[in-house]
Symmetry: C2
Subunit: 211 residues, 2 copies
Amino acid sequence: MLPGQPKWRRRKDARPGEIVAAALEVFAEKGFAAARLDDIAARAGVSKGALYLYFETKQDLFEAVVRDAISPNIAAVEAAAQAMDLPFAQVSRTLLVRAADMMSTSAIGPVAKMVIAESRNFPDLARVWHDAVVIRVLAVITGLIERAQARGEIRPGDPRFHALALIGPLLMGVLWREVLVPVGAEPLDLTALARQHIETALTGLLIEGAR
Amino acid sequence: MLPGQPKWRRRKDARPGEIVAAALEVFAEKGFAAARLDDIAARAGVSKGALYLYFETKQDLFEAVVRDAISPNIAAVEAAAQAMDLPFAQVSRTLLVRAADMMSTSAIGPVAKMVIAESRNFPDLARVWHDAVVIRVLAVITGLIERAQARGEIRPGDPRFHALALIGPLLMGVLWREVLVPVGAEPLDLTALARQHIETALTGLLIEGAR
DNA sequence: ACTAAATAACTGACCAGTCAGTTATCAATG
DNA sequence: CATTGATAACTGACTGGTCAGTTATTTAGT
C-alpha cells in the first residue's frame, strides 16, 4: 500500500448513483430477497455501512432502483405519443417498435421481472410500479384507441382490452428473454416480434372472407 | 389431551399429496425464498422433520409442486387441440377461452409467477417449466397455425410470433391479476379479455379500408 | 417386541442493520 | 506555507434473529 494513496475518498455526490447502479445489477441478478447488501456495497466500491448513509433500508434502496430505471423511459413514451394526430395505424406502428427497442436496451425487463417476483412480499414496490408506469402507459394507449374509435378508424370494444392485447405480446417476449433464454430456450428478436404483431393486429390473422 | 386420542397417525400414503398442496399455497403466497418450511409443515398438519421423510430438499419440494400444478392442465390443452380439423377461427376461439378459464381457476397463474420470480436463483425450475409447459403449448399452437397457413386460411408470417401474439395478452391478464390487483389495480375479467382479443386478432383492429 | 412414522429440540450458516472507531478533507490559525 | 483542529464520510467487526437441514427420541401400528 503506497503511503500517498488514500484507502478511500469522500465522494458524497457520486455515491448514491453508483450504489443504485450496483444495486440494479445485483437485484436484477438475484431478486430482492437473495441480493446481499455486501455484494451491492462491494460492486459500488464501498462498505456496507456506507449504504446506510444514503438509504434507510434495503427496501428503500430497492425503490430507488425502480424509480431510476423507470422515469427516463416513461417520459419517452409519453413524448412519443405526441405524434397522436396521425392515423392510428402509423402511431401504433412507431410506438410498438419503439417500445420493443426500449425493452431490449433499458433495464425495464429485469426490473419488471423483479417487481413481479417480489410483489407479494413487498407490495409497496408493485404499487410504485403500477402508479408510475402501468397506469400512465395504459392511459396513453387507451387514449389513442378511444380517439381512433371516435374517428371510426378502429373497431369498437373495450379500449383497455385492446391496449392489453397490443402490449401483451411484448411483455411475453421480454419474459421469454429474461426467464427462458438463460435456461436454454431459443433466442427471440423482440423488434421483429413487434413488427409482425402490430401488422397482424391491425389487419387481422384471417385472409379475406375466411369467415 | 384425551388419552385415547393419538397425537398423530402414520399416513405414509396421504402425506406427500397433503404436503405438496400445502407447499403450493405457501409458495404461491410468499415465493420460494420467503416461504418457510415450518409454515408448510404446519399447514400440512405435520412437523418440519416429516417433510424430509418425503422430499430431499426445499427445492425438491418446489419442483414437485410445479409438476403437480402443471401436468393435469397441459394434457387438457393438448386434448383440446384434437379439434384441429375445424377451421382455425373456431379452434382458436375455443382454445383461447378455455385457456383463459384454466388460468382463472387453476394454480397456473401463481405458479407461473413463482417460476418467473425464482428463475435466476433456481434455473432448474425454469427449465422444468420450459420443457414441460412452454415447449408443448407452443408446439400445439404453432402446429395449428402452420396448417392453417398451408390451407391459406391465415396470413404468412413466423408462426412462433403469431403464437406469442395470441397468448401474450392472456399472460398479461394473469400477471395483472396476480401482481397489480392485490395492490389496488382495477380487476380484470380474463375471459372477456380472451373473447375480445381473439376476435380482433382474427379480423384486425382496423375497420375496412383505413389503410 | 419390533419397525418405521413422526416429532421437537438442536445446529450452523447466513445476513440486515448497528455503531464505535478510523481517516480524508478543509478551514482556521500562527 | 505549514500545522492543527473540527467535521463528516466511511469502514468493518459485531449482534440478533431467522431458517434450512439434522438427529436423538417418542409413539403408532402390527
